[in-house]
């Protein structure tokens, strides 16, 4: 943990060597993440709701999803950019260290320029929670549960990222897979799942289970349906999915063949 904190401060110091670039990059990344929401706000200002979900209710989903994926982009940058290790043959150097390759990847680097997206997500959450005008009990329950749903989302995102990275053991390049396994599903998770056709819903509640991250608990927390089990499902699903992803990663490492020299 000490090592990780040192890495964190080192990464922050190195980014601060180019303060202006760091600030503008973070700000512009936050801006690009926010633009979809601003456009959605423009739509809902005119048409009130999307299948019974108003702007603040969608904002809650949007904020949770945004914070989860941007935290993944900040802290799991080497897992996300794993294809570099395959294309440039750097993975061999991880295998000969006395620590597991995954631990090395997770502690090697962090990408603080993505933190702007996290701040933007938190801002949307704050605005949405204020706009929802919940009573004290509902607000207390939501605030208590919010960290659980964000951590569950982060674990689901990390698991999807790890599964995609594992594919690189066979395909080398994974950037195009990531659009399919991460960007598109997390974009979909910004909005309520009841707007999607059945086949998309099946995908988002099974093979790419992003629907459990925010939609399932928020349904119950906003009195839109479900029961207390809706609150238990996100952590349960994320832990099971993480277990599957780790097993697949180990399977991938066992089948890794170095290109040699």
């Amino acid at each position: 943990m000490n090592l990780y904190l040192k890495l964190l401060s080192g990464s922050l110091r190195s980014r601060m060597q180019y303060k202006m670039n760091f600030l503008v990059s973070s700000l512009s990344y936050g801006l690009i993440m926010a633009v979809d929401f601003i456009l959605l706000a423009a739509i809902l200002q005119r048409f009130d709701d999307v299948k019974g979900w108003n702007l603040y209710e969608v904002g809650l989903l949007y904020g949770i999803s945004s914070v989860a994926i941007t935290l993944y982009r900040v802290f799991c940058v080497e897992v996300h950019n794993f294809e570099r290790y395959m294309v440039e043959g750097e993975f061999d150097s991880l295998l000969i260290r006395p620590v597991s390759p995954l631990s090395l990847l997770l502690t090697k680097n962090i990408d603080l320029s993505r933190i702007g997206g996290t701040i933007q997500g938190i801002l949307i959450l704050v605005i949405s929670i204020i706009g929802l005008k919940l009573n004290n009990v509902e607000l207390f329950l939501l605030l208590i549960y919010l960290p659980v749903t964000i951590i569950s989302g982060l674990l689901i995102c990390f698991s999807l990222g790890l599964i995609t990275a594992t594919i690189a053991f066979w395909t080398q390049r994974i950037k195009d897979f990531q659009t399919f396994t991460l960007y598109a599903p997390f974009n979909a998770a910004n909005y309520p799942m009841n707007i999607y056709p059945g086949w998309l819903k099946i995908i988002f509640f099974t093979v790419i289970p992003v629907g459990f991250m925010n939609y399932t608990p928020v349904l119950f927390l906003l009195n839109k349906g479900g029961d207390v089990w809706n609150l238990a499902l996100p952590p349960l699903v994320s832990i099971v999915f993480l277990f599957i992803a780790l097993r697949f990663w180990m399977f991938g490492i066992r089948h890794y063949h170095s290109t040699g020299s």
């Binding site: 180019y18 670039n21 503008v24 990059s25 700000l27 512009s28 990344y29 801006l31 690009i32 633009v35 979809d36 601003i38 456009l39 959605l40 423009a42 739509i43 809902l44 200002q45 005119r46 048409f47 009130d48 709701d49 999307v50 299948k51 320029s113 395909t171 390049r173 950037k175 195009d176 897979f177 659009t179 399919f180 960007y183 598109a184 599903p185 974009n187 979909a188 909005y191 309520p192 009841n194 707007i195 999607y196 056709p197 998309l200």
Partner: protein
């Protein structure tokens, strides 16, 4: 013609990755389905209050998702900034070719590739799932071709502008983010710009971003007159002239060190 050969080579280079690109197309289609679902959900029971029906918006989003591959998803800074970082720009600017055409012809080759392996397959997916609008007037096809060509030139110019700015700023990540955000936000990717709140809906029709996405789509859907091509033409001329001027400025700024 050297620029034609560069275009062909760029097309062939992209052919190496066509399987990965076909997988990516599936994701692009999912983005489209998500946006279509949002609009169908929003317009359910409210079509009378909207200038667009749910079917209109389905066709609109399907067309946008296709055209994004011709005028939205271009190479960041057209890779000019990489040449500035590793010094290759000095050789590229010293070549007896026009640097602007040298860079843009390579991107044009990539866009021609995108036409066959991105635009058409995604269009086919939408045609088979949610349907696709078929223009009723023969002239529409003619104006559509011109509008798409202008949209590509506008977008190439915007990305070139971001790339060449690296001669002064070195880093272009933030400029690319901002350019892309404006392109999709004010270009009408999710919301047709006439539905944006005022004053945005009054200003955006005259900005280049609308010319890159919104106008070709509206011409395709026969919801806009062909006169909007004139707005696109103005931006084509203005941006091209500005970039040529900026390239000359960059050439004068260039310092070659070492020996």
């Amino acid at each position: 013609m050297v620029y034609w050969i560069l275009l062909q080579k760029s097309f062939m280079r992209n052919m190496q990755y066509k399987v990965a690109h076909l997988i990516n197309n599936a994701a692009s289609a999912i983005f489209g389905f998500v946006f279509i679902a949002i609009w169908v959900g929003v317009l359910q029971g409210k079509e009378n209050d909207s200038p667009y029906t749910a079917l209109d918006m389905t066709f609109y989003i399907a067309a946008v998702q296709c055209i994004l591959w011709l005028s939205g998803f271009l190479t960041a800074g057209l890779n000019i900034h990489n040449g500035i970082r590793n010094g290759a720009i000095s050789l590229e600017l010293a070549r007896p070719t026009n640097f602007f055409l040298y860079v843009t012809s390579q991107e044009a080759g990539r866009l021609v590739y995108n036409l066959f392996f991105r635009f058409l397959p995604i269009g086919l997916v939408f045609s088979l799932t949610v349907g696709f609008y078929i223009p009723q007037h023969i002239l529409t096809y003619f104006f559509l071709c011109i509008s798409i060509l202008f949209a590509m030139i506008i977008s190439i110019n915007l990305h070139y502008l971001v790339g060449i700015s690296a001669c002064w700023t070195t880093e272009i990540d933030w400029a690319h983010f901002v350019n892309f955000t404006l392109l999709v936000g004010l270009g009408g990717q999710l919301v047709p710009i006439d539905l944006l709140p005022t004053p945005l809906s009054s200003i955006t029709p005259y900005l280049p971003f609308a010319g890159a996405i919104y106008y070709p789509v509206m011409i395709f859907l026969e919801k806009s007159s062909s006169e909007v091509i004139l707005i696109q033409l103005v931006w084509v001329v203005v941006l091209t002239c500005f970039n040529l001027w900026l390239t000359e400025k960059a050439r004068h700024k260039l310092e070659i060190q070492g020996g």
